[in-house]
């Protein structure tokens, strides 16, 4: 069964360092999402791509976060510089498109900023 892949699974970094997360969606899925899940809370959408275009990045802290999906397949989320408050689980999800509605989630990357 196809799954969304994410790496690394765990990342520990020091404050002010740069960090990057990678996501490979299910093959053929045009829509890709990055969520941030702070401990004890539900996921919050950071950015949504339709193919290689950004559909929604209204909650992305653009002064330090960036996301790209250059060829409309895999995606990278970057934080530079990392802050203590960025410690969270970063989830990637993909969907075949609007009609399908269901989103398929990856295992996530747990980030700890020290």
């Amino acid at each position: 069964e196809a799954e969304v892949a994410q790496s690394p699974r765990y990342k520990i970094t020091e404050k002010s360092q740069a960090v990057a997360f990678w996501c490979d969606p299910i093959s053929g899925h045009a829509t890709l999402y990055w969520y941030r899940q702070i401990l004890g809370q539900g996921p919050e959408l950071l950015v949504q791509f339709q193919d290689e275009s950004v559909v929604d990045d209204s909650q992305l802290p653009k002064d330090r976060f960036s996301a790209e999906r250059l060829k409309g397949v895999d995606s990278t989320l970057k934080i530079q510089p990392a802050e203590l408050g960025d410690s969270a689980m970063y989830l990637c999800a993909s969907s075949p498109g609007v009609i399908a509605r269901e989103q398929y989630f990856g295992p996530g990357t747990r980030l700890t900023v020290t």
Partner: protein, 115 residues
């Protein structure tokens, strides 16, 4: 803005028993989707059940069913014949029927099924 509220941070149930998780939401929209997602410990989130707001009939998926009360903006999840593998965080989520497919999640309910 749409909001989703889950008022039960933690629940527990004995194996084979039935448990109901509560969810309320706030929206001025008439057409939307509601979901329950399950996040097992150290595993990825998976969809449990989905409800379209225009459908009056409550959705069911095997042991999982919902009680959708549109006027009350309530969307509870009932798990029948609970199994140890049902132990997980359960998130209620809302999605509008526009083109963004943006999910708005509640804070989750941690369900523990014990033998």
């Amino acid at each position: 803005a749409q909001t989703v509220t889950q008022s039960q941070p933690e629940m527990s149930v004995q194996e084979a028993e039935t448990v109901t998780l509560s969810c309320t939401y706030d929206t001025s929209e008439n057409n939307y989707y509601l979901f329950w997602y399950k996040q097992p410990p150290s595993r990825q989130m998976i969809l449990v059940i989905r409800q379209e707001a225009y459908k009056q009939q409550n959705a069911t998926e095997n042991r999982f069913s919902v009680n959708f009360q549109k006027a009350a903006k309530s969307f509870s999840l009932k798990i029948s014949d609970s199994q140890l593998g049902d132990t997980a965080m359960y998130f209620c989520a809302f999605m509008m029927t526009d083109n963004t497919d943006k999910l708005i999640f509640g804070t989750g309910t941690r369900l523990q099924v014990f033998p």
